[in-house]
Amino acid sequence: MSWLTGHAGEIAARTLEHLLLCGTAFAIALTIALPLGLLAARRSRAGLPLIAALDAIYTIPSLALFALLIPVMGLGFWTAVTALVAYAQIILVRNVVAAIQSVPSWMVDAARGLGMTPLQVFLRVELPIAAPVAIAGARVAAVSIIAIASVAAWIDAGGLGTLIFAGIERQDIRLIAAGTLGIAALALIADGALRVAEHALRAPTPPAGG
């Protein structure tokens, strides 16, 4: 216990670093993935090669991807963010595509037939129907980013991975446990928060009858 109180400051600092790293990566990844996903869903000619390319990035082991970026970007925060964004892309883009395609064609047809403009069809019909599906994908991406971000410590980007690497070096199981549990807690919290958002956005489906 006294160990924990002695290291509370560092654990908190590393957790904040981890949050900042992952939050930044997640926000940038979403900003890129939404238009890319929309494009891929609407234009399969552009979408298929795009998804193939993102798939290829995903097959690179995380440690190797970080290593590959060092000669280009050097060490540090933004290198780690770049790697995390690249990883999250395929998960997010695939899900945005799946989400848009989950809107039945008859629904889009009805919306157009009633006289909605393309923008109105998107905002009033496609987005509300697709959002819960897309957020389900965002949950997976968020958890992946939080887990992979532990490797960021290896390129001096900080975060809870720092505790794990330090623990391995000093053969201190307590440091490893603190880092691991911290990451797991962050992942659970992020997953839970997005799950709440997903449920709030789901079309109400109360028990049938009446």
Binding site: D109, A110, G113, L114, G115, P204
Partner: protein, 321 residues
């Protein structure tokens, strides 16, 4: 009030062996209920969707009230044409009231007017506004969903209503009552309705004008009675089962028959022993009455007065080919 005119309308899907709609020409007068009847793949839905320009045309022109629709803004055009799609088509994330209010909201009506309109429409399609407004489509039966779909299509008082196999997903009893309500609604609003179906019974019972389609062209156009009594091609005869004499009797009313036939001679018998039927009753129903009561003739009443007398021979002649 709106008339629709197709002039050489053609739709060709890329890569298809033949055009989906192959140069059809037809004038549908205002306040007419026209039914497009044909097997699946005959082009009837495609033709329907050319009217609100969901389906672009590759040739010919479509006029509404004499104006070429190609020159109109498709968004504005769709907002003044009611559209009831196959398989209901309600938005699952919106309540019944929000679904019905879609077009009025697009048109920018104020919320008070929208709300009143929603209540009026729900009542018109036999749904109690109080208990249905705030429900979601998933909480409704198939028939109730279909009623909401019709209310939504009627929301902005369109002069044209397009209905694409609207009752395909409901059971026979609900379908019959929805058909009856569609007819009543059409008489009340005076809307021009274009109704697509592959159900012959439905087509015969609803149509003012029946259009039989096959492979992208019109096989025959006419009233149900004309098509049943004088099918133009073997395909039409088979499709509508024109050999069925009872079916032919079912689409002709007593009034239609007696208007053309010579007036019957005054009856020697006591009038009380002869069944009296309204002129709007079908010949088939009249025959059923004769068979049931054993009466050799019926009196045809028009506005409460005896207009003619009809006997079995007249019926027989009407159905003979």
């Amino acid at each position: 009030m709106a008339s629709i005119r197709f002039a050489g309308v053609r739709v060709a899907y890329p890569g298809a062996a033949r055009p989906a709609v192959d140069g059809v020409t037809l004038a549908i007068p205002s306040a007419c209920l026209a039914v497009l009847l044909g097997p699946s793949g005959c082009g009837k839905t495609t033709l329907l969707r050319t009217i609100n320009r969901l389906q672009p045309i590759d040739g010919g022109r479509i006029e509404i009230d004499g104006r070429d629709t190609a020159g109109l803004d498709p968004i504005a055009l769709r907002r003044r044409i009611g559209y009831v799609i196959q398989a209901v088509g309600l938005f699952p994330h919106l309540t019944v009231a929000q679904n019905v209010a879609v077009v009025p909201n697009l048109l920018g009506w104020d919320s008070q007017r929208v709300s009143e309109r929603v209540d009026t429409l729900l009542a018109q399609v036999s749904l109690d506004p109080q208990s249905f407004r705030d429900r979601y489509p998933s909480q409704l039966s198939g028939g109730q969903q279909q009623r909401v779909g019709i209310a939504r299509a009627l929301a902005a008082e369109p002069s044209i209503l397009l209905m694409d196999e609207p009752f395909g997903s409901v059971d026979a009893i609900v379908r019959a009552s929805l058909q009856k309500e569609t007819l009543a609604l059409q008489r009340r609003t005076g809307a021009t309705i274009l109704f697509v179906t592959h159900d012959v019974e439905e087509a015969l019972s609803l149509a003012d004008m029946l259009v039989v389609m096959r492979d992208g062209h019109f096989e025959q156009t006419g009233t149900p009675a004309e098509i049943l009594t004088h099918p133009a091609t073997p395909f039409v005869a088979e499709l509508v089962d024109a050999d069925d004499a009872l079916r032919r009797l079912s689409v002709i009313t007593l009034g239609e028959l007696t208007a053309s036939a010579a007036r019957g001679t005054p009856l020697p018998e006591e009038p009380g022993t002869i069944p009296a039927l309204d002129a709007g009753v079908s010949l088939r129903a009249a025959l059923a009455v004769m068979l049931e009561t054993g009466a050799p003739r019926v009196r045809v009443m028009h506005d409460g007065r005896e207009a003619a007398v009809l006997d079995l021979d007249t019926l027989r002649n009407a159905v003979r080919r």
